[in-house]
Symmetry: C2
Subunit: 137 residues, 2 copies
DNA sequence: TCTTGACCTTCCAATGATGGGAAGGTGTAG
DNA sequence: CTACACCTTCCCATCATTGGAAGGTCAAGA
């Protein structure tokens, strides 16, 4: 199977398949006489694994770990769970940060008339002096 | 005021101040005889504006627009509001995507025993065949 | 047989926001 | 005079992905 077919079958772009190989996430593909990469069904399965993990937001490093565990029939599920938990906590932190941003923005957008007049609470907020937090020497 | 003082006063790192100047977000700073950048209070105010906007997740391009509007005493607040609204919608989309990831992950982490045994629903999910979506030719 | 077009190869570069660090000039206090 | 803190520019790295150039390969049709 050429890289194009593997790409179609897995949903991972050919560009990314080569990239994943280059950075060592995937083992070097078999080559035909013409130097074309040659993929088997198992490889496509791995590519789909990677794609699904990316869709869940795992980093390449994390996926490398997950792939290694997946290949190891004896892995303790604890190891897999730990990776997933760390990533989940990470996601939750970032979601909370973005929700804080969104909440502030919603308030500001709501407060802004959004008409011809120049007065704008959004700019007022952006330009505001930062609150002088009490910082005991 | 040297760049270090402006950095301390604004909360924007000296590195980033130079960067913002290099990419054209900020006007080239005044220079002293020794070629050191020289900042006035107004510049620090602008830097704080940029910092606050970054904290709300605005992109550099969006901040460029906001800065221009801020400088223009005659701007219609509508223009500001539109930028903020687009960004807010963007944030909400990304939050929803991440929440979908997190929800899936929570389910999987919950389903995984996380012990010595190799069986792991997390890997099972990642390795699952993608649902064959009906795709009427 | 020749051409066309769809594939494949490698290599280089860009994205966006930020940081690290090198190599060298400047300012000030001891 | 010497430290040391500051400043300058320049290059490189991150992370995941995409775009493109320059060139090789293969199959089908005239």
């Amino acid at each position: 199977m050429n890289i194009g077919a593997a790409s179609t079958a897995s949903g991972v772009s050919a560009k990314m398949i080569r990239h994943y190989e280059a950075i060592g996430l995937l083992r070097p593909a078999a080559r035909r006489d013409n130097a074309y990469r040659d993929y088997a069904d198992g490889d496509v399965h791995e590519l789909r694994f990677v794609r699904r993990a990316r869709k869940l937001g795992f980093s390449i490093d994390e996926i490398a770990g997950l792939l290694a565990l997946w290949r190891d029939e004896e892995r303790p599920s604890r190891d897999v769970r730990r990776i997933a938990q760390v990533h989940l906590a990470d996601l939750e932190t970032r979601i909370a940060e973005m929700q804080a941003m969104a909440a502030t923005l919603r308030t500001l957008v709501h407060a802004c008339h959004g008409d011809d007049r120049p007065h704008c609470p959004i700019l007022d907020d952006l330009a505001a002096e930062p609150p002088r937090v009490a910082r005991p020497s």
